[in-house]
């Protein structure tokens, strides 16, 4: 699809017609007026690596080798002397200079639904306020109008624990994510191509424009007189879809353009390839990309929920996580994207230091790990310390609002700035009283 040609065509054909008056004030993109700008980067982007189910901190970033609670997992050296992490993440250990583990996340939410909502919105579910998910919240602030791709793209989300924790809440449908899932024909050929971006071959570009112009006219009155989410989301999604249809930037979804060697380095897993996709999207100016690591093949959607057989489960997941994440960090750096891209790794809670009778670990919100990396973060250090048995926080407990405030600052936002909520009350980006972790900020 030759996007440039369509732009000019539309401009030439209709700029003088009175109908254009209607379409110009309409909701579909004003293509003719758009600047031909490419390679836009927002001031900051964010990539969230979401670990559905709650990963075990002891078997990842807070190993307790030698204590019974540590289990069989060994601690290994990293690229930063003095920081040791679990041996399940050898390659991630080598990019520790780009990461800053927080070992002392602490909440009271041990239920998947409430904890998922809390970590993904920064707020506990309360009354009628529909809090936006982090991706909507940040992309709403960070998006650049020139970017032709949706500002928030979510890859392989597993939403069942708390569907509302994955939506735009009171920010409205314009800030919903574009959800893409892997479609694969084989283990090595993982694709995230967005379907139906190409118009039917039999249709000349001009006819597509005619159709869109007429749709614009037809919609005006109906939607103007009928407010509501279904109508506004229809309008927003069509506008974004048309914009994508006409954008060269959708090429970002074609992973085939990448060298095989790099694709191999990320790992030929859906998660690995999605991390590569995240880098390609950030490169095109997408403000927020979220990549979920749920279960492995055919093991359900909450892979990190290791109530039984914790050690094998974590090891299997880390085999996918480790190359993907480590390569993402080095790839971002090699392309000069690291300074402007915040990378967040977290799940909804951690897991019990004490190993249960099924060699599993259960929900543990009291002392667990999350990791910040990349842009805006003073990396190569660890925040917080847990006790030798992992049960207590000895230093620097970190609340969810404080984590959110830190994330906001890292992408250049003021956590106290507010959005108007659905109940008319202004809601700050991070909950009242949130304090950014200065230790972690550049």
């Amino acid at each position: 699809m030759d996007a440039v040609r369509i732009h000019r065509r539309l401009f030439g054909r209709y700029s003088g017609l009175s109908l254009l008056g209607a379409s110009m004030s309409g909701w579909l993109p004003r293509l003719a007026l758009q600047a031909e700008s490419r390679g836009i980067r927002p001031a900051r982007s964010c990539i969230l690596l979401w670990m559905s189910g709650g990963p075990s901190q002891i078997d990842t970033f807070d190993p307790h080798e030698g204590h019974a609670n540590g289990g069989p997992v060994k601690a290994i050296e990293t690229s930063i002397p003095g920081i040791r992490i679990a041996d399940s993440l050898p390659r991630t250990a080598q990019v520790m200079q780009h990461l800053a583990p927080i070992r002392t996340m602490s909440t009271k939410e041990g239920d998947h639904a409430r904890a998922t909502y809390y970590l993904r919105t920064g707020y506990l579910p309360q009354g009628p306020v529909q809090f936006p998910t982090l991706g909507s919240l940040l992309s709403h602030q960070l998006r650049q109008d020139e970017c032709e791709l949706p500002a928030f793209i979510s890859v392989n989300p597993f939403r069942a624990f708390s569907p509302e924790a994955f939506g735009p809440g009171f920010l409205g449908p314009a800030w919903s994510p574009l959800v893409v899932a892997d479609q694969r024909s084989s283990n090595t050929d993982i694709s995230f191509e967005v379907r139906n971006l190409q118009t039917a071959p039999r249709l000349a570009a001009a006819r597509i424009d005619d159709r869109i112009r007429l749709l614009n006219v037809l919609e005006q009155e109906f939607l103007a007189e009928r407010p509501g989410i279904p109508g506004s989301s229809h309008r927003q999604s069509y506008a974004q879809a048309v914009r994508m249809m006409r954008s060269r930037d959708v090429g970002a979804f074609r992973l085939d353009d990448e060298p095989n060697a790099l694709r191999d380095r990320y790992g030929r897993s859906p998660f690995g390839q999605a991390c590569l996709l995240a880098r390609r999207l950030v490169e095109k100016g997408v403000a927020f990309v979220e990549v979920a690591l749920n279960g492995l093949e055919n093991r359900g959607g909450a892979g990190w929920d290791s109530h039984t057989d914790n050690f094998q489960t974590v090891r299997d997941l880390c085999e996918v996580l480790d190359p993907a994440w480590a390569t993402l960090m080095s790839d971002l750096q090699e392309r000069g994207l690291l300074e402007s891209t915040l990378v967040v790794w977290m799940g909804e809670f951690g897991r019990t230091p004490v190993i249960n009778e099924n060699a599993g670990r259960d929900h543990w919100p009291g002392s667990w790990s999350a990791v910040l990396g990349g842009g805006g973060i003073r990396t190569g250090q660890v925040c917080g310390r847990t006790s030798s048995d992992g049960m207590e926080i000895e230093e620097s407990p970190v609340s969810v609002p404080n984590l959110m405030a830190t994330i906001c600052r890292a992408v250049g936002l003021d956590e106290t700035s507010s959005n108007q909520s659905n109940i008319g009350r202004p809601i700050p980006l991070a909950d009242h009283g949130a304090v950014p972790l200065q230790q972690l900020l550049t």
Binding site: H112, L197, L215, P230, G231, S233, S237, H307, W364, P365
Partner: protein, 596 residues
């Protein structure tokens, strides 16, 4: 085989979840346990009339000596001892009067009445699950009979489309996981086959629920039944992994609108429910084969006698919990009574404070996209109904009419509240709880595809050996997947970018709007002696179920002419391709894609 694996896996997943609950590390306390007061000697709702002479329609004379409010129990605790049986018309009139009084007091100005065309479209979508056909619109709009709106309700209630649609509606309500989770999808055919027979026979709602609650379940026969798509309500339990605790959660949510989920592992943080009460309800299901043997009250190794099935072990404390109703009442056991029969008796008793209200609320939500209590299955002290008196009125009369679901449907669709337009004319209509304007509603996946099929003239094939199964690779299967949505209500349903792309560029719509492949377009373009204006009208009726407006004609007609001229033709057939463009535009419009 694959299915067995996935079921086994889902059980495993559920086991994991259960373990999660056992070991939840925090317990929240609640301020106090509010007991549910019920007058044992007085029924909350009138007893079901002994005879089945209750007329289906409104032939009962209206009693105008009883003011609306007197027939309505205002709270759980004040039963109306002498409920008067009201006709459909009178019940609808009283509901309208309650709304009007409420609107007056809150300075709400309701929207104008709905037009005939918009009403027809809405009632088709709500009752038949699809938009009306062109011929049905034409017939209705030319019908001079002043009772045409009521008559079309009766016609639809007698149609197979109603049975088909409500089979889907109830399946989604009772086993929602079948649509959202692939591992439960195989449960659909057998459950729908069973629901179909209940709905087609107009089985009273209390009886439908009784049949579900009391169905004997055996894990091996349940599995065979599912594999054979045997007509059975067992899917209600299979979708809950045959576990007492999941059955308790499902029962309380589906039939009582009470969310006990939290109380499974701790006292409910915001509501009155205690963990103890959760397990007291679960104890009625101790016979289910998915019961954890460690947690069931049964003696190991034996099927147990009747009494051994009446308790369950609460995992967190190991305490043996007896089966007790949510109201706090202890069942009157006899040696032979089965716990699930006893539970069904209590659930469907006219004195149950939730059962009829929940059903009335669900039916209300079916026609408004939002319950009087919202979310539809969240009755709690902190979540008051929008119009409590209307809910009580509907519930009371539902019981009085022998739990006849069609009574609720007739009544709700007859209210003026249902018959308001979707155009917002005053800002006071913005409050969804005011029900002062018909809100825009996203369609369910089924409503969407069946309407699309109707509009484009796509004949939906069905599998001869299993008509309740949808082939995942068929257009219907693919669109149902694409339109899956986890929104809390149709008012919150969103269009995704991927849906927009499929509608604009996908194969199905491309064929539907191409002259070579489209049934509807060919019918329009090849019919002789039709003017362009008449062609446009037909396309408009086929999609948005109304004639085009003058403004639309003024936009589309010049477009057709310009296209014909560009093609170098002088007669209207030259505009055929442009008709495909107009059809595309109509199919992509929010007016077509939404219920309003």
């Amino acid at each position: 085989m694959g299915f067995i694996c996935s079921i086994v896996m889902s059980w495993f997943a559920a086991l994991v979840c259960l373990a999660v609950f056992f070991l939840a590390v925090f317990f929240l306390t609640i301020c106090g346990h509010v007991t549910i007061c019920m007058a044992e000697d007085q029924p909350l709702l009138a007893p079901v009339p002994a005879t089945d002479t209750v007329p289906a329609t409104d032939t009962v004379p209206a009693t105008d000596t009883i003011p609306a409010t007197d027939t309505v129990p205002a709270t759980d605790t004040v039963p109306a001892a002498d409920t008067v049986l009201l006709s459909v018309d009178e019940t609808a009139r009283q509901a309208d009067a309650l709304f009007e009084a409420s609107w007056r007091s809150r300075h709400v100005i309701p929207a104008a009445a709905v037009s005939d065309a918009e009403y027809l479209r809405r009632i088709y979508l709500d009752l038949a699950g699809r938009i009306p056909a062109v011929s049905e619109v034409r017939e209705f709009l030319s019908d001079p009979d002043s009772s045409r709106r009521d008559r079309v309700v009766e016609q639809l209630l007698d149609s197979p489309a109603y049975v088909r649609n409500f089979t889907t509606v109830w399946r989604n309500a009772l086993i929602p996981q079948a649509a959202s989770q692939p591992q439960y999808r195989a449960l659909i055919p057998g459950f729908e086959a069973w629901l179909w027979t209940q709905i087609a026979a107009d089985t009273p709602y209390d009886e439908v629920v009784r049949r579900i609650i009391t169905i004997p379940v055996d894990s091996s026969t349940a599995m065979t039944g599912v594999l054979n798509s045997a007509s059975s309500p067992e899917a209600f339990f299979v979708s809950r992994d045959l576990k007492p605790e999941n059955a308790a959660t499902g029962t309380s949510r589906a039939f009582l609108g009470v969310r006990l989920d939290c109380a499974q592992c701790h006292n409910h943080p915001f509501d009155r429910w205690k963990q103890q009460q959760f397990w007291q309800l679960a104890a009625f299901y101790a016979d289910l084969p998915g019961a954890d043997t460690a947690s069931s009250g049964m003696p190991s190794g034996s099927g147990g006698d009747a009494t051994s099935h009446r308790s369950i072990r609460m995992p967190s404390t190991g305490e043996l919990i007896p089966a007790i109703f949510l109201t706090g009442d202890t069942p009157a056991w006899t040696d032979s009574t089965s716990p699930r029969e006893v539970l069904a008796d209590w659930l469907t008793d006219s004195r149950n404070p939730w059962f009829a209200r929940m059903a009335a609320n669900r039916m209300w939500a079916q026609f408004f996209g939002r319950g009087l209590v919202h979310p539809v299955d969240d009755f709690s002290e902190n979540n008051a109904p929008a119009e409590p008196a209307v809910l009580d009125l509907l519930a009371t009369q539902f019981v009085a009419h022998g739990y006849d679901l069609k009574f609720l449907i007739r009544t709700i669709t007859r209210t003026r509240v249902y018959r308001t337009g979707s155009r917002q004319t005053h800002e006071s209509q913005a409050d969804a709880d005011a029900f002062a304007r018909a809100a825009l509603r996203g369609m369910t996946p089924e409503q969407f595809f069946d309407s699309l099929a109707e509009a484009v003239g796509y004949y939906q094939p069905f599998l001869a050996n299993n008509p309740f199964l949808t082939d995942d690779s068929s257009p219907r299967g693919r669109f149902l997947e694409l339109y899956l949505d986890d929104a809390e209500s149709p008012l919150q349903r969103q269009t995704t970018i991927l849906q927009a792309l499929a509608m604009m560029n996908g194969d199905f719509i491309d064929q539907a709007t191409s002259l070579e492949d489209s049934q509807t377009l060919r019918a329009v373009t090849e019919f002789p002696r039709m003017s362009d204006a008449e062609r446009l009208e037909t396309l408009s009726l086929a999609t948005v179920s109304r004639p085009p407006t003058a403004g639309e004609l003024a936009t589309f007609l010049p477009y057709l002419e310009a296209s014909a001229q560009a093609a170098g033709e002088t007669s209207s057939p030259g505009s055929r391709e442009a008709l495909g463009d107009v059809f595309w535009v109509l199919l992509n419009s929010s007016e077509f894609l939404l219920n309003h």
